[in-house]
Structures are given as structure tokens and as C-alpha cells.
Symmetry: C2
Subunit: 132 residues, 2 copies
């Protein structure tokens, strides 16, 4: 065992399909969405494989976890600029927002050190709004 880390990480058909799903979708996906997207073009792919690869890609730093209150975890491509998300109450999809607000540190009481924040907007996305 030379280097302590360095996962071999073979380039299988399934792993390729999963990565493609994220690149193509370009929005946070949960394991189930990944399964559907990855299984779409290709033949069958197991849900366990999806979970294993996602965990793997997160450890590699290729994906980051997006946790929304009350939802199961989703994942998106890592390396994007600081951003937050919009959750459509109608279709359930999650979109990425750009930009952010400042002044969060002022919300905490004295003596509390703020090291990060999370913002989530709820509402109706454009396609759902137009459809109504």
C-alpha cells in the first residue's frame, strides 16, 4: 500500500452513466433521479450502485451534497461558486440561484461565531407558473 488514499476508481459503464446524469441535468439530483436518468439511455443499473457511486464521487470531491429541509439529500457538481437553491412547491424540482445576501453574521447573538449559512427559497418556478 504505497499511497494511503488514491482510490483506483475504475471507469465502468455505470459510473459513466451516473456522471453523465449530473453533467446533463445541471441541477441537484437525488439518488432516485440519478437512477432514472442514468438508466434512461443505458440498460439497467442498480440503485445500490447509484448510492455507492454517489458516495464515492462525493469523497473524491467531484460532487457536493445539497441538503434540503425535509427532503432526502441531493447532489450536484462540485466547484461551483457560492450559491443557494430554489425549491418549487409545485413540481418539486430544485434550481440553483446565483448571488447571495450579506449581513447574516448580524443575525446571530453576541458570542456566537458564524462560519457558514444556508438559504433556501420556496415558491413556484417559471414553468409551473406559466402552466397555470
Amino acid at each position: 500500500m504505497p499511497s494511503p488514499d488514491s482510490a483506483p476508481n475504475r471507469n465502468t459503464r455505470q459510473r459513466r452513466a451516473i456522471r453523465d446524469a449530473f453533467v446533463t441535468a445541471d441541477r441537484p439530483l437525488n439518488p432516485n433521479e440519478v437512477l432514472e436518468l442514468a438508466a434512461a439511455g443505458h440498460e439497467g443499473i442498480g440503485i445500490a450502485t447509484v448510492y455507492r457511486n454517489i458516495k464515492n464521487l462525493v469523497e473524491e470531491g467531484w460532487l457536493t451534497t445539497v441538503e434540503l429541509p425535509g427532503e432526502s439529500a441531493r447532489y450536484e457538481l462540485a466547484g461551483k461558486a457560492h450559491h443557494h437553491h430554489f425549491h418549487c412547491k409545485q413540481c418539486g424540482k430544485v434550481y440553483e440561484l446565483s448571488g447571495c445576501l450579506s449581513g447574516f453574521k448580524a443575525m446571530a447573538p453576541e458570542g456566537f461565531e458564524v462560519t457558514g449559512h444556508e438559504v433556501l427559497l420556496y415558491g413556484v418556478c417559471r414553468s409551473c407558473g406559466e402552466a397555470r
Copy 2:
């Protein structure tokens, strides 16, 4: 069935214990914390009963749900003013904040209707910061 709603809602020892737990703790609790707190002074109480009563109290409007990313749902007394939460990375406790920011609507793209938002601050709370 005269009135369509109006749950009879009997005042049992267990329900009293659960309500006490929330009043005493005065911070968001998850079902497991409720179980421990409610079971503390009194004799045994079932986890199923905790879940059933929490769901009940939420429907009644006595509790509201507090969903934190990556955590199981917590609940707190309803009727408080609009506020957000602070999650201490050290001790894991969740605190209530007062105040809020404005300008969230501007974060969404055109065509997206924003009906609500959620803010969560992460960091180190006062007691953990002092202890260091």
C-alpha cells in the same frame, strides 16, 4: 359526525409529558429528544406515542416543524414570530435567532415566484466558544 374537524384529544399522562418537554426545553426537539425528556420524570412512554402526538400537535397548530438540512425533523412551539435558526457544529444544538434579512426575492430569476424562505446559520455557539 357533527363538526368535520375538532379532534376530541384526550388529556393523557403521556400527552402531558410530551407537551411539558417542549415547554421546558424551549428549543427545537426531535422525536428522540422528546422521548427522553418525556420519559424522564414519568414512567415508560412509547416512541410510537411520541410520533403520534407530535403529528397531532402539529395538526392542532400547537407545534411547528423545523426541518434542518441533513437532520431529522424537529419541532418547536408554534406562534412565535418569524425567525430562523443557528446550528452549532460543536454541540449540535439548535438555537432560535431573532430578526431576518430582506431582499430574498431579488435572488430568484425572473418568472420565479418566491413565497417563502429558510435561513440557517452554522457556527459555534457561545458556550462552545467559551469552553475552547
